[in-house]
Structure formats: structure tokens, C-alpha cells
């Protein structure tokens, strides 16, 4: 078999083998069960609690959880804004890089606090080392926020009636110290031994073999890259992210970095199975997500390996596939695989330029972000999927004439209303913002000429991709878009802000309200949610509610480009 395809199979097999035991471990952490690592981590957690003045045994209801989350996130936003707009005089700036303009600082602060990592700057020239450190801190704590709030929802799904759902800070600290820190540390070590820099010196200048000067950026990159992959953050240290050979030096690091993208999102499904003692439900969810992922990744790999039909017409050989924007050490299969990995989860790091991929690969990448729950971001991917489950329970219940119930709790009008608002928010923001932008552009194509690097249908795809990425808290881009302007910084900043916090508030509210309802044991009248029939229903709901809403926009962008290129 082709070695590029074998490489992709290896990457998926590795992540699955690691994610199942990790899921069990995460489940134990959220259940406060003993693990053999307690000896190390209990004292560290104790330091966190003591210095922060937190009593981890005080339980909160769902409203208190959300309040704690929103307050701490607001505080992070303010600090990020301050640091980013004052980098030039703050310490650790050996390359003398400038501070950010207010609109770029706003965009970047929202982007990192919301776990999006959309980057309208380039790391080498737009960031001091101090700025990079602050962003790295945000990569830890924004990921931990998502995982901690997901733990609250797991807790709420248990078979009992309560409004006490654990302590938010405690979930947060345990996520940081017991999950993110140790795994990121191992990853960073593997990276430095493969040639990723970890130094505090500034740029180096060398003389090439042909006698020219070449500048090379280094910096404390390895520590940063490990957590940006692990926490579905995705914000690269260098401008072109993991396509840069410092950030991702060889095939081994490429395997490591792709494994890190999927590791926690898949582990969270099995963690849920462990916490609730519902293995069958976890397998149903895993299967639905995997079917969704495979249906996007297989055609993408096919199209990238097949090459660009327009290049074919120039009469050269495309044995390696579509190589514009890709690196030879990864090849087209591993690049397409990464593209779908990073867009299905809300990671957004890249190892090849998505803008230069064939039209349909671009479309599948967008679909990954539009659905945003085929594995999804750390913690929040499960919350998005939870919304689809609630909708499927409701629709299924109506279809067979049974009371809609999920895990022994009656789903009523209020919950369904919230679920529907959250499900529709995502298409509304993406399509609304794309429509507004297209309207502005078509009215004044000369004024806004700097926005688009590529003409025609592909240009429209650049708009659509950018807002899908912002709304899905993804962070990747069709980077041909000239996006460091006040218009783009403010619009995408607002979209990221709204689409981070409402889709957290919604599911937590639903789960919290369900948790306080009376528990009804399963009977013959119950619609079973851990069966393959229900799995198919969830796929149908995702297809109708999420994917179909975007179909008209996709026909204007990538589909039209595909048909034009193939002479149809």
C-alpha cells in the first residue's frame, strides 16, 4: 500500500490506542477517584488551592459555575489586551517587535481567551517572547476552561436529582495539573529532541552556501507548540504554523502533533462513558463522530493526492499530488489528514496552506467547522454534540409518540428552545457575517481590493472560511485573506466572542436544569439513546440542522470552483 496512506492510518491508530486509556484516566480525575499519580499531583493541587484561596469542596449549581467561568475569562481578556498592546516596552523582546494596534490586540485577545487562536499577525514579526508566553498561558487555561465546564455537564448527566454540580475551580485546576501539564511536557521534550527550538536568544543570521544572508527566527517554541496542539488551540509560534520546519521538523513530530490534535477530544467521549458508567452511550457517540470524520477525511485525501486539475493541464507530473502550499516531508495525504483533523476539532493549526488545497478539500474542511462536533474542541466539542443529542431526543420522541427523555430526565420545551437557539446561532453568525462582507465587497471592489488574494468563487470561499473558523473557534484560515484590518479584526472578534460563550452557556443550562428534575428509571416506554438507531437519528439531525443550512453558501464558493475547474 502507498506509504503516505499507511502513515495516515498509523496516525489514527496511535491516537485511538492512546485516547481510550486517557479517557478512563480523565474519567477518574472527574470522579475524584484515586490514581497512582496522586502522590505527585495532590500536593501541587494543594498549592494551587492555597495560593488562590479556593475551597475545592464547596459545590456550585450551574449558574454559579457559569458565573465563575465568565468572570475569570473576562479578567483574562483584560490582561491579554494590556500585554498585547504594550509589548514593545515590556521585557523579553530581543527582536524589538512592536505593540499591536488596538483592533488587532482586541482580536488576538478574544482569539486566545476563547480557545480560537485565529491569528491576524505573524509570530516572527508581530510578537515579543513575553507576548508569546502570555498567549501560551492562555492556551493552557482556555483549554482547561472547556474541559472543566464539560466535566460539569458530565456530572449533571448522572442518575440523580441535584443542583450541586461540583466545584468549577477544582475541575479547572485538576485539568491543568493532571491532564494538560504532564502531556504537554512530554510532547515538548519530544519536539526539542527532534530539532524544535527552545531558546531565549533572538533571530540568527547565517550565510547561505551561495553567500547570501538569511535570517532565521528561533525562540522558546517547543513549550508553546506542545500545548497549542494538545489544547485544540492551534495558534502557531511562527507565521505558517506547523508547516514551518522549526515548528514541525520531521515526520515523527508530524505524527506527534496530529495525535495531539485528536487526543483529548476523543478521550473526552470515553471519559463520559466512564463517569456515567455508560459504555454503550460512549460507543454510540464515538461511532457517530467517527463516521462524520471519515466521510470528510477520505475524499479530502483522495482529492489532494490526485492533484490540481489545472496543474495537470500544464503537462507536468503530479505523482506527489497537489503540492502548492504543502511540505515534501509530510506529503499530500498527511497534509489533507491534518486539514480535516484540525477543522473537525476546533484546533486550527495547519501543516499546509488550506487556501491552496483543491476546492472540495477546502469545502470538507469548512464542513468540519460548520458541524464543529465530530470530536470537536476539548470539552466544548462534546457540548456541541450534546445539543444535537437533545434535538434528536426531542425529534425522535415526537416521531414515535414517546415522551422525550434523555438519561432518565424529561426534555421539555424550555430545554429544546435553548438547544435550537444554540444550534441556529452558528449558521446565523457564519452566513450573516459572510453575507454582510460580500455585500460590502461587491459594492466597492476597489476599496476592498486588499481583502482578497484570489478572485471569483475562491474569493468568496475565503470570506466563508474565515467566518466559519471564527464561529467554530477554530483559528485556521484561507490565509490569502488580507485580514489585519479594523473591519476583519472587529467582526471576527465579535463572532468568536459570541460563539464561544453562548454555546457553553446553552448546554450547561440545559444539563443543569435536567439535573434538578426528577429521575425516571428506564421503562419499555423510554426512547433508548445508546442504540445504532438513535445514532442514525443523530447523524440525520446533524445533516439537516447543521450541514444543510450551509449548502447554498457552499455551492457559491468551493462547489462552483470545482465545477468550473473541471470544465463543467
Amino acid at each position: 500500500m502507498n506509504t503516505e496512506i499507511l502513515g495516515v492510518i498509523l496516525m489514527y491508530a496511535t491516537v485511538l490506542v492512546l485516547a481510550i486509556p486517557l479517557g478512563r484516566y480523565i474519567g477518574k480525575i472527574f470522579n475524584y477517584e484515586n490514581t497512582w499519580l496522586d502522590k505527585i499531583f495532590n500536593p501541587i493541587d494543594h498549592i494551587f488551592y492555597k495560593l488562590s484561596g479556593i475551597n475545592p469542596s464547596i459545590e456550585m449549581n450551574w449558574k454559579q459555575h457559569l458565573l465563575a467561568l465568565l468572570i475569570i475569562n473576562a479578567f483574562w481578556f483584560v490582561i491579554a489586551l494590556f500585554v498585547l498592546s504594550n509589548m514593545s516596552w515590556l521585557p523579553l523582546n530581543p527582536d524589538g517587535n512592536p505593540s499591536m494596534s488596538w483592533d488587532l490586540a482586541f482580536n488576538t485577545a478574544v482569539s486566545f481567551v476563547s480557545n480560537t487562536n485565529l491569528q491576524h499577525y505573524s509570530g516572527e514579526t508581530g510578537m515579543s517572547y513575553f507576548g508569546q508566553f502570555i498567549l501560551m498561558l492562555w492556551q493552557f487555561i482556555s483549554a482547561a476552561t472547556g474541559i472543566a465546564i464539560c466535566a460539569v455537564v458530565f456530572n449533571a448527566m448522572k442518575e440523580r436529582t441535584t443542583d450541586k454540580l461540583g466545584n468549577f475551580y477544582s475541575y479547572f485546576v485538576r485539568t491543568c495539573t493532571r491532564i494538560l501539564l504532564p502531556i504537554a511536557f512530554i510532547g515538548a521534550i519530544i519536539l526539542v529532541f527532534n530539532g524544535t527550538p527552545m531558546t531565549f536568544e533572538g533571530k540568527d543570521t547565517i550565510t547561505t552556501l551561495e553567500g547570501k544572508e538569511q535570517q532565521i527566527s528561533t525562540g522558546p517554541a517547543a513549550a508553546f507548540i506542545a500545548i497549542k496542539q494538545l489544547g485544540t488551540n492551534g495558534g502557531g509560534y511562527y507565521g505558517p504554523n506547523s508547516s514551518n520546519p522549526m515548528e514541525n521538523p520531521n515526520y515523527i513530530t508530524n505524527i506527534l502533533e496530529t495525535v495531539f490534535i485528536f487526543l483529548i477530544p476523543i478521550a473526552m467521549i470515553f471519559a463520559m462513558g466512564y463517569v456515567l458508567k455508560r459504555r454503550k452511550l460512549a460507543i454510540m457517540i464515538y461511532t457517530v463522530m467517527t463516521i462524520g470524520f471519515l466521510s470528510l477525511v477520505i475524499p479530502s485525501i483522495y482529492f489532494e493526492m490526485n492533484g490540481n486539475p489545472a496543474i495537470d493541464q500544464l503537462g507536468i507530473s503530479q505523482n506527489m499530488g497537489n503540492m502548492e502550499g504543502k511540505e515534501v516531508r509530510f506529503g499530500s495525504a498527511a497534509s489533507a489528514y491534518w486539514a480535516i483533523n484540525t477543522t473537525c476539532t476546533s484546533n486550527g493549526s495547519v501543516n499546509a496552506m488550506h487556501d491552496s488545497m483543491t476546492p472540495l478539500t477546502g469545502m470538507f474542511a469548512m464542513l468540519g467547522m460548520m458541524v464543529n462536533s465530530f470530536y470537536g474542541g476539548v470539552g466544548v466539542g462534546f457540548l456541541n454534540f450534546y445539543i444535537f443529542i437533545i434535538l434528536a431526543v426531542f425529534i425522535g420522541g415526537l416521531m414515535v409518540g414517546r415522551t422525550p427523555e434523555f438519561l432518565g430526565k424529561k426534555v421539555e420545551a424550555k430545554e429544546v428552545k435553548i438547544a435550537m437557539i444554540i444550534a441556529l446561532l452558528h449558521p446565523l453568525m457564519i452566513l450573516g457575517a459572510t453575507a454582510l462582507t460580500s455585500f460590502l465587497y461587491s459594492g466597492n471592489p476597489e476599496i476592498y481590493a486588499g481583502w482578497l488574494k484570489n478572485p471569483s468563487h475562491h474569493g468568496f470561499s475565503e470570506f466563508l472560511y474565515e467566518f466559519s473558523s471564527a464561529s467554530a473557534n477554530n483559528g485556521s484560515g484561507f490565509e490569502g485573506l488580507g485580514d489585519n484590518t479594523p473591519f476583519w479584526n472587529i467582526t471576527t472578534g465579535l463572532v468568536m466572542l459570541i460563539c464561544r460563550y453562548l454555546p457553553i452557556i446553552g448546554p450547561v443550562a440545559i444539563a443543569g436544569m435536567l439535573a434538578s428534575k426528577k429521575y425516571i428509571p428506564e421503562s419499555v416506554g423510554t426512547l433508548k439513546t445508546d442504540t445504532s438507531t438513535f445514532g442514525i437519528l443523530v447523524i440525520a439531525v446533524i445533516g439537516i440542522v447543521a450541514a444543510l443550512a450551509f449548502f447554498p453558501a457552499l455551492t457559491l464558493g468551493p462547489l462552483a470552483e470545482y465545477f468550473v475547474m473541471n470544465g463543467m
Partner: protein, 180 residues
């Protein structure tokens, strides 16, 4: 406020302790955390960072959208159907054919005429090296056979022979050419 204090503790742990721990261990890694470096008669070379080669006596690397700027890396971000992109690729094909008489257009692999994502891709495909052999043999007065052996020696196989692509690091190959 627990929020403020918790943030400060996180700052100490993640920016301070975690970073310093990784940095300390990096001192044991090849290159002491500066990337992988080789010394070429007193000159430092970063083996993972591609360099620009335009003269006929060296193997050519891939085209770069940023002219091999290692402090401002990036791709072209051209869409696949962009006419300007296709014109540039056509121009690269024409230039290559002028400098390499005897090579058929259908032998040129796409990686040699398309820009990489980083703009500092150090590798080319084996085919891309092979079709440059005639030119280099003529200019440097080396037998084509020797060059073929050199290419074979520098071909990086897929991981364990099973996973990924076959490729050649252009900088390593050109360093070897210069040392002949």
C-alpha cells in the same frame, strides 16, 4: 478574588516552571535547543531550514513565496484555480526547461514548480533531484553515475520504510556537492 489569584498561580506554573523545565531539558538536546545545526567550514547552517539556490551548479530547491526568509516564513496562499498562480507555475516550468535541456516537461514533478507552505521547505522529491543531474554533471564535471549514487545516499526513506514520503534534503545534498 479567587479568579485573579488563580490566574497568577497559573502564570507562575505554566509560563515559569513549565517553560524553564522544557528549556533546561532542551540544553541536553542536539543543538542545545537552537534547532539542528551543522558547521560548514566555520559557517553555521540550520539543516532543517531550506535555503535559496539559484545558480546552475547547485541542486535547486522548491520555489518559495517568501524568498527563503527564515524570519518571515509563509506560503503563496494562491487558490488552485487562480490564473496568476498558474502563470507563475508555467513560468517556472519554462525556466527549468531552459536550464535543463533534454528534460521532458512530463518528467518535472509538481513539488519543484510549486511553492511550499512555509516557504523554507528544506526538501524536494527524489524525482526532482534526478532531473537536475544532467545539468549539474555538465557544470561540475562529475559523472552522472556519481551524482545518482549521491542522490541515493541522501534519499530519506519513509519512517521505518513504511510511513510517509521519500525525500531529499537539498541543503545536505549541496553541502556534499561542495565538499567533493
Amino acid at each position: 478574588m479567587p479568579a485573579i489569584r488563580l490566574t497568577l498561580v497559573c502564570l507562575v506554573f505554566f509560563c515559569g516552571i513549565y517553560t524553564m523545565a522544557v528549556w533546561s531539558i532542551a540544553q541536553l538536546a542536539p543543538g542545545q535547543g537552537n534547532g539542528i545545526i551543522v558547521s560548514d567550514s566555520g559557517n553555521t547552517q540550520y539543516i532543517n531550514i531550506g535555503q535559496s539556490f539559484i545558480s546552475d551548479k547547485y541542486f535547486w530547491p522548491r520555489p518559495s513565496a517568501v524568498e527563503y526568509n527564515g524570519a518571515g516564513s509563509g506560503g503563496s496562499n494562491y487558490g488552485p484555480s487562480n490564473p496568476q498562480h498558474l502563470e507563475e507555475v508555467q513560468a517556472r516550468i519554462d525556466t527549468f526547461l531552459i536550464h535543463n535541456p533534454g528534460v521532458q516537461k512530463s518528467e518535472i514533478p509538481s513539488d519543484l514548480v510549486t511553492a511550499s507552505g512555509s516557504g523554507i521547505d528544506p526538501h524536494i522529491s527524489v524525482q526532482a533531484a534526478k532531473i537536475q543531474v544532467k545539468r549539474i554533471a555538465r557544470i561540475r564535471n562529475i559523472s552522472e553515475n556519481d551524482l545518482a549514487h549521491m542522490i541515493e545516499k541522501y534519499t530519506e526513506k519513509p519512517l521505518l520504510g513504511l510511513f510517509g514520503t521519500e525525500r531529499i534534503n537539498v541543503l545536505k545534498l549541496n553541502l556534499e556537492l561542495d565538499s567533493e
